[in-house]
């Protein structure tokens, strides 16, 4: 770990000015940034502690749930409005990490998490285009079990690890970011980037910008987060599904679905969402065939074909649980 300076800020303007300096990183809960420092993924010159910024509130007004970027995962999960009106959100938070981490980790920081690809997290430099551009992708020819089946490139086959991001994508949430000059609003489903030709760019946040809030429109009373994993707790998803549904008399009238564990971004199943309208909730075969519409573009690697099957089955289950 390289020696760094540490300062504590109180106001947003002061923070944005500090973040404008090269080599400066914000620190909130520190549950991910400290990993980067120890693993040599980041070597900042200065850390700016933003925990005292007034960005912790969670509130529902004018049909929009607004979550401050510094709200802790455990606080958001325990919020009564979140639990009652956005179950998928509360569930995605409670199924993530461990109780200790959820007490520390912030909502903004959660979205800033980087991939858990073992090559990206290696203790010594191994070929990884997300660590060193042009060094190659070890995962492509190595252990592909946890790799993406959608949206990968020959530069990177990693997946993103955030459960929260998957729920937010299904909820059509917006990530609010502030720079020194302006505020931007980025759809949650697009905040984390696919690798494409620029695997070093993990997300849409630009240098000097800070996530200030997440906004979630409407309500999603009939929603569900399903997380498939081999360890029963404290593990990242093999595959996860966030489902938000509307149904009348046992027939689906509207579905929003996002998958985790399958791409380096929450993967919305837009084709399936259309095909699912009008399908009987009890008709598992029909649900499966409607979902298949979104899997024609799946490109599994040798070693993760199982995710194609698993993701479709998990989506069926999540839809049924959301509607139940």
């Amino acid at each position: 770990m390289r020696t760094f300076d540490y300062t504590r800020v109180r106001g947003l303007e002061e923070t944005l000015a500090a973040l404008g300096e090269p080599g400066t990183q914000p620190i909130a809960g520190g549950t991910e940034l400290v990993n980067w420092l120890k693993e040599g993924i980041e070597e900042p010159r200065r850390l700016v502690d933003i925990n005292r910024l007034p960005l912790r509130d969670v509130g529902f007004a004018d049909g929009v749930l607004r979550i401050g970027a510094l709200a802790r995962m455990s606080d958001v999960a325990a919020d009564e409005i979140v639990a009652a009106r956005f179950p998928v959100l509360a569930q995605s938070l409670l199924l993530a990490a461990s109780a200790q981490l959820r007490n520390m980790a912030s909502i903004g920081g959660n979205l800033m998490q980087r991939t858990r690809c073992p090559y990206f997290r290696a203790d010594t430099a191994v070929p990884c285009n997300k660590r060193a551009e042009g060094s190659g992708c070890s995962a492509l020819h190595g252990d592909t079990g946890a790799a993406a089946i959608f949206g990968w490139s020959d530069r990177c086959v990693a997946t993103h690890p955030s459960d929260l991001a998957v729920a937010l994508a299904a909820l059509d949430a917006v990530v609010v970011v502030r720079g020194e000059r302006s505020e931007r609003r980025i759809p949650a489903s697009e905040f984390i980037r696919l690798p494409g030709d620029e695997p070093l760019r993990h997300n849409e946040l630009r240098a000097g910008e800070l996530i200030t809030a997440v906004e979630v429109p409407g309500g999603a009373e009939r929603s569900y987060y399903l997380k498939v994993r081999e360890r029963a707790s404290y593990e990242f998803a093999v595959v996860s599904v966030a489902a938000v549904v509307r149904a009348e008399g046992g027939t689906l009238t509207g579905v929003r679905l996002a998958l985790g564990g399958v791409a380096h971004r929450p993967w919305r199943l837009t084709a399936a969402e259309s095909a699912l309208v009008g399908v009987d909730l009890g008709d598992t075969t029909a649900l499966r065939s409607a979902l298949a519409a979104s899997f024609t573009e799946a490109r599994p690697l040798a070693g993760n074909e199982y995710k194609v099957t698993l993701a479709q089955r998990a989506a069926v289950r999540a839809i049924q649980e959301a509607a139940a």
């Binding site: 770990m1 390289r2 020696t3 040599g40 858990r116 073992p118 090559y119 997290r121 290696a122 203790d123 010594t124 430099a125 191994v126 070890s138 020819h141 190595g142 252990d143 079990g145 498939v228 994993r229 081999e230 360890r231 029963a232 707790s233 404290y234 593990e235 990242f236 093999v238 199982y306 099957t309 698993l310 089955r313 998990a314 069926v316 289950r317």
Partner: protein, 706 residues
């Protein structure tokens, strides 16, 4: 017995943080060390550029091969890996240390270490397990022979009514103790002082003396507490000689703490195995032949043998038994014993095969095992010193409700869950080693016991209290146990499930001698006896060793001496996702006399968790291109969490083995981890009809077509 409910005397110190572990020992002017590791699995070190590192803040020195003394050559064991780092240009495995950075703080040392640049020559594609030749191993890791044979297994299989043959694999696994290995070393003239996290101060002392060509009494090793070892700290790994050498060169104390990543390369692992078992049986389920072939991965310069087939020679009656073990020398760090070695991987194969045979025969798997219960050791003909497997199977089955089982696979569904019940036997070899202890009585009647043993979490101080209390008739709380210093009477080590037998017997002998010297009887107040004898203090040293004709690792030459158990498991497999959850388990064990029921129960619960990890989670894959363990951290290497573990009913059946040692006790540290994987795999078959022969059982496998 006064030990029912005896709690560990070391508990409060551990809970409050007062218990001192090796890396926490203060040392004035100590330098922090960080290792630079090889990033290639073979080849030679061509050039090391340490200029930038030497200029980093706080750096005292960057030590390379040229700076270090040449150490004596020793085999493995007692070394973890026979080629020590920084003694040659050859790279033996990825992660091998190639330089040591010494700095004023750990952060400075680690940062500077990241600035050392190395280049390599002659690096070739790594050879993976499965790609090398099977060879007969030659090393101290080979216990008994590699090949054993009785009768004609080929003929036995040919004349069997039913045969099963299948190949099973177990994965590379890492011990991952919570306390990483660490050594604080300093020299006082020609005397070397080492505070180190080890499973044996005796092994560390003897080995370090040999490496540095010192008389053993010039090396002092201190380790009262070890934060878990599971085999990773049994033999001597690089942190010990590197810290000592760096302290010698720098003239200052050196503290070297392994990083979590280094624990994946510099303290051993349980190597992957591939085992083929063939069983032949008559229609009524009597074995006619048992053949068990096994090969395990090892390093290029070390023949670590997993000894997987031993239990196949003693577990079931069969007129013909044939076992064979080989190793493959491949590009990887050195393997080492890990809870549970030998029978841990071996019994997965044998007990899975027995389950397959039970289905082929249409005989209940418990009944099949009962029908093949031998009267004497099937291979050697020796009598059993004690064997209560039948009792374990019967009592476990009763408690589990096994009689209610519907034998057909996929016949017990509840909602999305396919429910399955599985059974497996457990057995573990009985290793024994010498031990000694001193018992001292003070004028106030207080008792002090001194022993070189480390408290590694298993509760040995409480066991010592229990034995002293039983022998002298005093209260366990009157006994103070001092431990973990090579200056105390030597104890072979807290490994191999040996400590209760060896140390317990030594303590018993010392306590008996005290009583004899006082001409007293059990239960008489010691202070009074001492005063009557006109003494203010009295001490006696007790020793115990296995009988003289004992075999390697203290195994008996006169008896078939082992521990036994039976595991009953209920799994729920999500029919759509292939996720396996263990909902219920009953285990019963026969392991000699139980000295401290509370600690023993804890051991078996912990052992079960280890078996669960082997069954469903743990695999540490070697990357085929990079020749390195892919994930060297506990986010990528999954150990069981509490949420994984079921309602577990673990208990002992009555047993007492006076042939093993005077206490009648046997080892339990490893037994609890045996058989769990087979029981779970057998339950998964019962639930799903899918026979999984490769550990760990992954959802991708359960989902896939057979």
């Amino acid at each position: 017995m006064t030990t029912e409910g005896l709690v560990r005397p070391d508990g409060p110190a551990k809970l409050t943080g007062a218990a001192r572990y090796a890396a926490d020992v203060p040392a004035e002017s100590a330098l922090a060390a960080a290792l630079v590791s090889a990033t290639v699995p073979n080849g030679r070190l061509a050039e090391l550029d340490a200029a930038e590192a030497r200029d980093c803040p706080g750096v005292a020195a960057v030590l390379t091969r040229a700076d270090l003394p040449t150490l004596a050559e020793l085999p493995s064991p007692p070394l973890g890996y026979p080629a020590l780092p920084l003694q040659a240009e050859e790279i033996h495995y990825e992660g091998e240390p190639i330089a040591i950075v010494l700095a004023e703080t750990l952060e400075q040392a680690q940062y500077a270490a990241s600035r050392v640049r190395a280049t390599y020559t002659g690096v070739r594609e790594p050879i993976a397990f499965g790609e090398a030749e099977d060879v007969v191993p030659h090393s101290g890791h080979v216990l008994g022979g590699t090949d054993e044979e009785k009768g004609d297994a080929g003929a036995g299989l040919a004349e069997a009514h039913v045969t099963v043959t299948a190949t099973y694999t177990t994965a590379d696994r890492h011990h991952s103790p919570i306390e990483p290995s660490a050594t604080l070393a300093w020299w006082e003239g020609e005397q070397l002082v080492l505070h180190s996290s080890v499973q044996s101060v005796a092994v560390a002392q003897q080995t370090m003396a040999a490496l540095f060509s010192l008389p053993p009494e010039h090396v002092r090793v201190v380790c009262p507490f070890t934060g878990g070892g599971f085999g990773a700290k049994g033999y001597v790994w690089p942190h010990l000689p590197l810290a000592a050498a760096a302290a010698k060169v720098s003239g200052r104390p050196v503290r070297l703490v392994m990083t979590r990543a280094q624990m994946f390369t510099l303290s051993g692992h349980q190597p992957a195995t591939r085992q083929t078992v063939s069983l032949g049986a008559t229609r009524d389920g009597r074995l006619t032949a048992l053949r068990h072939d096994s090969v395990n991965a090892s390093g290029r310069a070390v023949d670590y043998l997993e000894n997987t087939t031993h239990s196949s020679t003693w577990l079931y009656a069969s007129p013909a038994i044939e076992t064979r073990m080989r190793v493959q020398r491949v590009d990887r760090p050195g393997p080492t014993p890990m809870r549970a070695p030998h029978e841990g991987p071996g019994m997965f194969a044998l007990e899975s095969a027995m389950d397959e045979l039970a289905y082929e025969l249409g005989i209940d798997p418990v009944e099949l095992r009962l029908r093949n219960e031998p009267d004497v050791d099937p291979m050697t003909g020796l009598p059993f010193s004690s064997r209560r497997l039948v009792e374990c199977l019967r009592e476990g089955a009763e408690r589990f409700g096994w009689a209610e089982r519907s034998p057909e696979p996929r016949s017990m569904r509840e909602g999305n869950d396919l429910v399955g019940w599985g059974v497996a036997a457990a057995t573990m070899d009985t290793f024994r080693a010498p031990s000694s202890a001193k018992v001292r009585i003070g004028a106030d009647g207080r008792i002090v016991v001194e022993t070189g043993m480390q408290e590694i979490g298993t509760g040995l101080p409480a066991m010592v209290q229990a034995v002293v209390a039983e022998t002298l008739g005093c209260d366990p709380g009157d006994v103070e146990v001092r431990h973990g210093d090579s200056g105390f009477p030597p104890h072979a080590g807290t490994m191999g499930s040996m400590s209760a037998m060896g140390l317990g017997s030594a303590v018993q002998a010392a306590a008996r001698e005290v009583l004899a010297k006082l001409d007293g009887r059990q239960g008489q107040p010691l202070a009074g006896l001492l005063a009557e004898s006109g003494l203010t203090e009295l001490e006696a040293e007790g020793r115990w060793s296995p009988e003289e004709d004992a075999l390697a690792a203290g195994r008996s030459a006169r008896y078939s001496m082992h521990t036994y158990g039976a595991i009953f498991a209920e799994v729920r497999v999500d029919a759509d996702f292939g996720v396996v959850r263990l909902s219920r388990a009953v285990t019963r064990y026969a392991a000699g006399r139980i000295l401290n029921p509370l600690a023993a129960h804890s051991q078996l619960t912990g052992g079960f968790a280890w078996g669960y990890g082997q069954a469903l989670l743990e695999h540490s894959d070697v990357d085929p291109v990079l020749g390195r363990f892919v994930s060297k951290n506990l986010a990528g290497y999954l150990l069981p969490a509490n949420a994984d573990l079921p309602d577990l009913d673990a208990a002992f059946v009555e047993d007492d083995d006076r042939f093993a040692n005077p206490l009648g006790a046997k080892g339990i540290g490893e037994l609890g981890a045996v058989g769990v994987a087979a029981a779970i795999a057998n339950a998964v078959f019962h639930a799903t009809g899918r026979r999984v022969r490769n550990l760990p059982i992954r959802l991708a496998t359960v989902l896939s077509e057979p």
